[in-house]
Subunit: 347 residues, 2 copies
């Protein structure tokens, strides 16, 4: 699967990466860079920081030419400003990276290719620009036709409850057991981690399910596509994206992700977090449209906000209630969920 | 509510319309023009046809300058080619219309403003271009906050089952009874008919529910917003759009639209038409997220494919089964649905 073509040159981009931090406002601003450094350390040559930068990914600090000399292909601007705009210093640094021979990729709302000076620098150096929020041209409308291969989708009681992390943890655990399993990215951080994927929340509305069919095509090697979920059927701002994703995925298996300390869905105090069981049942009911045999295989809790003993007890209680393995992927791993998945689909 | 700004000039566009037919391939190709002529005859000065055009809307034939002299403001290109592309003759005719002093509006996938010669003609003449499939800039993400006013939404067992027609028939019937009621358009034909609205299937996926909130803002005159539905929760290509629309509408009332002779959803032989009762219940369940008090008030059948006696019997049977008034808006009107609506929301 190829990534969207760049706007300025016909070249490709990809790892090895120089991760750009610049001078971020806070930890949240480098969420994307941190995700890539955590999940793909082998792709990360170094980090680029301004002298006054107060955070680190623990990677070697490098200048752009130095990173190029160390084999970096692309500088990845993994920071996010409020509003997704591009500060003047980021523009200047992107141009400097292009002049140093690196390609440049970013996940900002404001596109690299919308800035004439960045486009000119890419042309001048024959380098590629990649905006992760720009869907590839030619994504088709979903067709709903059953396709070969097995697919798992993470769904959630809310946005930002650990769906990407859980999906990547499943990929890692399954590969360790020798299973063919591939993470399929649907958001900007996931796209950088996979070096492939489609930003399903940024496609034109008629193409949501088509984008998911496109990133997880038929496969016949007996392996699994592990598809990163987005949003929640119970989030009134984004449920359309979640439903299109569910239909396009034609999932054989669902894993429910949940953050038990949250009281209302992200950004909307009037909307309480749904009950996990009701949420899972609603997802199963909707998923049956394109895969009547869909089953739930586990629950992933983000328990970072609670003490260990309480987290263990809560996993046990929710797991019992739903009749499924329930773990915190960070604290406990996902082995019992993989056990359940492989047992359910042994043949 | 204002329409999206045009791309080439700062002027406004709107009725009176000259309806452009050109030389259409078939009746389906002039569906949009026919919808506007049927629902807004008072806005239509005339039709523009090529000499070999084999169809008519029954309007006076006019040249562009003649239409301008008769008070036309905008030439509406209401034709659709396979693929939504713009034939060379349409480009030439759009330029001629601009040179004759008309604004030009179109609902093609290929945008007027993407054609340099059309843009140049608009600039030269100080005329406006409007692409109905181009969402307005600045549509916000949906916020789900309860808002004042009453809203009805048409939902369907499939695409193209009469949701726009039913919504407009309800507007007409309610206005005849002296009720304040306003059609809110969500698709290209509806946008031309309302001279307002947003193409919800063409917005970026994260903004579906926000677009619907934007076209049906709070109102405190006791009147109704009648919102045109799109797609179906049971169409695997487009259900994401339908769910976002349902959440953004916060409907007080739903009317289910159904075409009883259809065997499978549009374009997908593998997907049977859902049972009307199950479809209505799924829509009510999903709608409760943003309006827990939602109720169904009627069923609209498109019975054009069956004899009169059979149509009447079927309306009675489905109406009894669902406990709701059931009519074919074309054959029978929508009076019993309006009766039910007004009785349900008398206070």
């Amino acid at each position: 699967m190829s990534l969207p073509a760049d706007a300025a040159a016909s070249g490709h981009w990809g790892p090895p990466y120089l991760l750009y931090l610049g001078n971020p406002a806070d930890e949240l601003a480098i969420k994307t860079a941190r995700g890539v450094a955590y999940w793909r350390p082998e792709w990360c040559v170094g980090q680029y920081r301004h002298p006054d930068c107060k955070t680190t990914l623990g990677l070697p600090d490098m200048g752009m030419a130095e990173a190029r000399a160390h084999g970096a292909d692309t500088m990845l601007i993994g920071t996010a400003n409020a509003g997704g705009t591009m500060a003047a210093e980021i523009v200047a640094d992107a141009i400097a990276a292009l002049d140093a021979g690196l390609n440049v990729a970013a996940g900002l709302h404001q596109k690299l290719r919308s800035h004439p000076d960045i486009v000119a620098a890419a042309r001048r150096n024959g380098r590629a620009l990649f905006d992760a929020r720009d869907p590839a041209p030619g994504i088709p409308v979903g067709n709903g036709r059953p396709r070969a291969g097995r697919r798992l989708l993470t769904v959630g009681t809310d946005c930002s409850v650990g769906k990407m992390y859980t999906t990547l943890a499943l990929e890692r655990a399954m590969r360790r057991r020798g299973c063919a399993a591939d993470f399929r990215a649907t958001g900007q951080t996931g796209i950088f981690i996979a070096n492939a994927g489609a930003p399903v929340d940024a496609v034109v509305a008629d193409f949501i399910s088509g984008a998911v069919e496109w990133i997880s095509p038929a496969r016949d090697d007996g392996g699994w596509d592990l598809i990163e979920g987005q949003g929640s059927l119970f989030h009134p701002s984004y449920a359309g994206v979640s439903l299109g994703l569910l239909h396009g995925a034609q999932p054989d298996a669902l894993v429910l992700c949940h953050e038990p300390t949250r009281r209302h869905v992200r950004g909307l105090p009037g909307y309480p977090i749904p009950d996990p069981k009701a949420c899972l049942e609603a997802n199963l009911a909707a998923a049956r449209l394109t895969n009547p045999a869909v089953r739930a295989v586990g629950v992933a809790l983000n328990t970072s906000g609670m003490p260990e003993a309480e987290a263990v007890a809560l996993c046990r209680r929710i797991g019992d209630e739903l009749g499924l393995p329930c773990e915190d992927p960070v604290r406990m791993g996902v082995e019992s969920i993989v056990d359940k998945l492989l047992a359910c689909f042994a043949n």
